[in-house]
């Protein structure tokens, strides 16, 4: 099976890369993704087109040797360069199930005491892995929706919280282990900017609601 996005997204940098595959003009686009492509970044996005940390690096074309794009040497060099840059921002994502289909995700964004006070554009989005299906390629981490940017001021030693409510459908529930929530903090203005920190939350551990303490979906009764 050929991959449009290689296992790079999970295997090369586990927990270190927040990956958003934003589909354009193919029936799998989203309002959030379209806005990122057409309004946030100047000019038009080529397909394929990769932006690292909101414009710190911009790479047009396939990242390695097609058709596997493996190893994605262009991506690796960009990620390595960004991982080497210190940051003063931390992000944790906290989930809460609101109903059968709705979840609220809170991005807890904090600045270290040695940080520099500034405004941040905070975003949340979610992706579904191996979606869409039925094509010659496997599509990884496809963006299904998002929220933001919510612009907030942050001072050293402080934290701010941004809430986003996402409504899931059978597309998510049928691939629950492949659902991932991403949060990031970046420069607030449109245009080429910088992402200071990102975080991911896999929904795998919330598969049956037990770990979150929500047993609404359980049907077993004690005899």
């Amino acid at each position: 099976m050929r991959y449009v996005v290689t296992p790079f997204v999970d295997d090369t940098y586990p927990g270190k890369v927040a990956f958003l595959a934003i589909h354009l003009s193919d029936g799998f686009q989203t309002n959030f993704g379209n806005t990122r492509a057409s309004s946030y970044y100047p000019g038009s996005m080529t397909i394929p087109d990769t932006l690292v940390d909101a414009g710190m690096f911009h790479f047009i074309g396939t990242p390695g040797v097609p058709p596997m794009y493996d190893p994605p040497t262009q991506w690796i060099s960009m990620v390595d360069a960004r991982l080497a840059v210190p940051t003063d921002i931390t992000i944790e994502i906290y989930p809460e199930r609101l109903s059968e289909t709705q979840w609220e995700f809170t991005a807890d964004v904090c600045m270290e005491t040695t940080g520099t006070a500034r405004s941040l554009g905070i975003n949340l989005a979610w992706t579904v892995d191996d979606y869409p299906q039925g094509y010659p390629y496997v599509y990884r981490k496809t963006v299904r929706g998002g929220y933001g940017p919510e612009v907030l001021d942050l001072n050293p030693g402080e934290c701010v919280q941004v809430d986003a409510t996402f409504t899931f459908s059978s597309i998510e529930f049928d691939r629950w282990a492949g659902v991932e929530v991403v949060a990031w903090a970046q420069t607030p203005a449109s245009g080429w900017g910088e992402t200071y920190q990102a975080a991911t939350l896999s929904m795998t551990i919330y598969e049956d609601g037990f770990e979150s303490g929500d047993l609404a979906g359980w049907t077993l009764t004690v005899p």
Partner: protein
């Protein structure tokens, strides 16, 4: 002897106060990188 013990405790606390911020500077927050990959099925 009691005064020595108190004095030692004071030095220890002072050392912790000095070392604390220095350690915080060295251990910066781990960074995760955001990658936005614009693509299509066609």
């Amino acid at each position: 002897m009691q005064r020595h013990a108190v004095s030692f405790l004071g030095i220890t606390l002072l050392a912790m106060a000095v070392i604390g911020p220095a350690a915080g500077d060295v251990v910066a927050a781990d960074r995760a990188v955001l990658m936005e990959y614009f693509n299509a099925t066609w």
